[in-house]
């Protein structure tokens, strides 16, 4: 399968879940082999859980909806650096999602290009 076709299929799948955006931040230590290939964060967290010495804790979570509603959670022990990093990640994710939506809109407007 060609790269572009796969990309556009992935994009099509993503559209269905573009209405919400969730950014979650955990604190914990994890040891991952540099050569290992990770496909999603679930595997990482799973690997973290496997380590008995590791304490993985939710420190911040933000869920924003397409209609503008935002639900945010911050642990009371979160430090300033983590708070700022969380906010910055929310901005980056929002920007990436918006860029994707704009591109899809352009493609729909100019189907002749495809």
């Amino acid at each position: 399968m060609s790269v572009f076709r796969k990309v556009f299929e992935d994009m099509g799948n993503a559209i269905s879940d573009l209405s919400t955006l969730e950014v979650t931040m955990f604190e914990g230590s994890v040891d991952i082999n540099a050569e290992s290939k990770l496909d999603n964060i679930a595997e990482v967290l799973e690997a973290a859980k496997g380590n008995a010495d590791v304490k993985c804790k939710l420190v911040a979570s933000t869920k924003s909806f397409i209609d503008g509603d935002i639900v945010a959670f911050y642990d009371h022990e979160i430090d300033e650096v983590q708070r700022n990093a969380h906010a910055e990640l929310v901005d980056m994710a929002t920007e990436s999602r918006q860029a994707t939506i704009d591109m899809i809109k352009d493609i729909l407007d100019n189907p002749g290009g495809i």
Binding site: D10, T20, F26, V30, V81, G113
Partner: protein, 534 residues
């Protein structure tokens, strides 16, 4: 002119005089006149226009202008066209203002001394003898002819001009000149003798008189007769001299017809300039060319019956029809017979050939230098253009490569789910297809390490955003191409598409520049775009 003649070797001068004589006898075309000009567009040529203007001025249709400038000009201005029309109207031609061959022929018949005229054969259409006598153009021509032949009392003030009155009843000078001419003709037995001039005839033109006036050769023949010359030489000295002057001028000598004589400085003696009249000089020149025809030295500078006999001999010369080439051959044979003149001629030809050869060499060298310069300049110019194109092409290729790189990096970012940063994978960012993010931060990380990791990841998101925008532009560009191909107005669509294409290309370039700036600020290596995301 006189100084130039003095500088010429005698035999070359003789050759020139032979050529002048040939021109005068119409064996060769006169370069100063339009007749016989090789110019195919003769009636538009400058020489023709100047000759025409000169004749119109001579006939009083056009003014001389300040400093006689109208004779030197060849412009076709309104006054000139008006003068032509007036002449055409008076001469009985179609007054269209265009002086073609017919107008020129009529004008020549009226003005020229070169050919005898039979007034009844004139090209004035639908005119009988009475009409010719009443024709205003003929009146002007008669006036001019009488003036040139010296029948007016003085040269000054009597010359024809635009205000001249050609009515015999009103113009006493004209009337008197005509009467004097008539008497002169009677003396020369060109007209029958009458007891006394009729009062009525004094105010009108007679056809026989006009015909006589235009039989110019008849005057030469009559004055060649010693008894007639003797009768007239005292009373009509001025007129005889004027006729001689005309004939000399026709034969190419500088005799200034239709004007008073002038003096030429010929040499200096004892601190004083010795002057000679133009007429005496012309006669002397004439006799020098025909030295075998005169015996007495005294005759050589005065107008005499012998001079007219020589003129008459020229007019009726059986050798007139002699081939010009044989004349030139004879002249050359004479020149080459004398060793001294032959040597002089050879020297002259040597000098001329050397001059021509030097000129050719100089022109060749100049041309070679010019060609070399042009080639050098062209090579430099082409090299500069090639450098410019190469520079632009490199830049263009660079932008294309970066575009491909950015799009590839953007989609790699979109495809990848987990990004690790900081040595030991102590900060992991997981991204889902719907851009949900989950981040795991090691508590031991310092704030700087966290910020550095976020900065790296932020650059990836920026690359992704730029890639989506670039892709949008590319899709628009391809869309324009498709629209142009299927459009019913391809040329219009092509123009619009070209404008949009250029605009999108410019925006893609901007995206690349912005990313390059960010990369520069972060001091990141260009290679980070791909391997870090992958």
């Amino acid at each position: 002119m006189a100084r130039g003649e003095d500088l010429l070797p005698p035999n070359l001068g003789a050759l020139g005089d032979s050529l002048d004589l040939a021109v005068a006898k119409r064996h060769l075309p006169n370069p100063a006149l339009v007749d016989g000009s090789p110019n195919q567009h003769i009636y538009d040529s400058k020489a023709y226009l100047k000759a025409l203007r000169s004749r119109l001025i001579d006939l009083g249709y056009l003014s001389e202008g300040f400093g006689k400038r109208n004779r030197r000009r060849f412009r076709v201005e309104r006054a000139f066209v008006r003068a032509i029309k007036t002449f055409q109207q008076e001469a009985g031609l179609l007054p269209d203002g265009w002086a073609g061959p017919r107008t020129w022929q009529v004008m020549n018949c009226l003005v020229s001394f070169e050919n005898d005229q039979e007034a009844t054969n004139w090209a004035l259409e639908h005119l009988d003898k009475a009409d010719i006598c009443e024709n205003p153009a003929v009146h002007r021509a008669i006036y001019l002819r009488l003036y040139a032949m010296g029948f007016f009392q003085t040269w000054v003030g009597k010359k024809i001009h635009t205000k001249t009155d050609f009515d015999l009843k009103k113009n006493a000078d004209y009337r008197e000149a005509l009467q004097q001419f008539k008497a002169f003709c009677i003396k020369l037995k060109l007209l029958p003798s009458v007891p006394e001039v009729n009062r009525v005839e004094a105010y009108s033109f007679e056809f026989t008189l006009i015909n006589c006036l235009y039989k110019y050769d008849a005057f030469i023949d009559a004055l060649a007769r010693p008894e007639l010359f003797t009768i007239c030489k005292t009373k009509y000295r001025r007129q005889i001299e004027a006729i001689a002057r005309i004939e000399l001028w026709l034969q190419g000598y500088r005799s200034n017809p239709g004007a008073d004589t002038f003096y030429i400085k010929v040499r200096r003696e004892r601190g004083r300039s010795i002057k000679q009249s133009s007429m005496a000089r012309a006669i002397a020149d004439y006799w020098r060319d025909y030295s075998d025809r005169v015996e007495h030295a005294m005759e050589k500078q005065t107008v005499s019956a012998q001079l007219f006999q020589s003129f008459a001999f020229d007019v009726h010369d059986p050798t007139d029809d002699k081939d010009l080439a044989s004349n030139i051959d004879d002249d050359l044979r004479n020149i080459l017979a004398d060793k001294k003149t032959k040597k002089t001629l050879e020297k002259q030809f040597d000098a001329i050939s050397n001059g021509i050869w030097d000129g050719v060499k100089r022109v060749t060298r100049w041309l070679l230098r010019m060609i070399k310069r042009v080639i050098d300049y062209s090579v430099d110019f082409i090299a500069n253009i090639a450098r410019f194109i190469s520079k632009k092409a490199r830049k263009f290729f660079s932008y294309i490569a970066q575009t491909v790189n950015i799009v590839h990096s953007g989609f790699t970012y979109f495809k990848n789910a987990v990004f690790t940063s900081v040595s030991g994978n102590r900060m992991i960012i997981g991204k889902d297809g719907d851009f949900d993010h989950r981040v795991l931060i090691d508590p031991s990380l310092t704030p700087d390490q966290i910020n550095s990791a976020l900065s790296d990841y932020g650059f990836h998101t920026r690359v992704y955003c730029a890639a989506t925008r670039i892709l949008s532009r590319l899709i628009r560009m391809f869309s324009e191409v498709v629209r142009t191909i299927v459009s019913p107005l391809p040329w219009l669509s092509s123009l619009v598409a070209l404008v949009r294409f250029a605009k999108n290309a410019y925006l893609i370039k901007n995206e690349i520049d912005v990313l390059n700036n960010i990369r520069a600020v972060q001091s990141a290596q260009s290679a980070m775009l791909r391997p870090q995301v992958a």
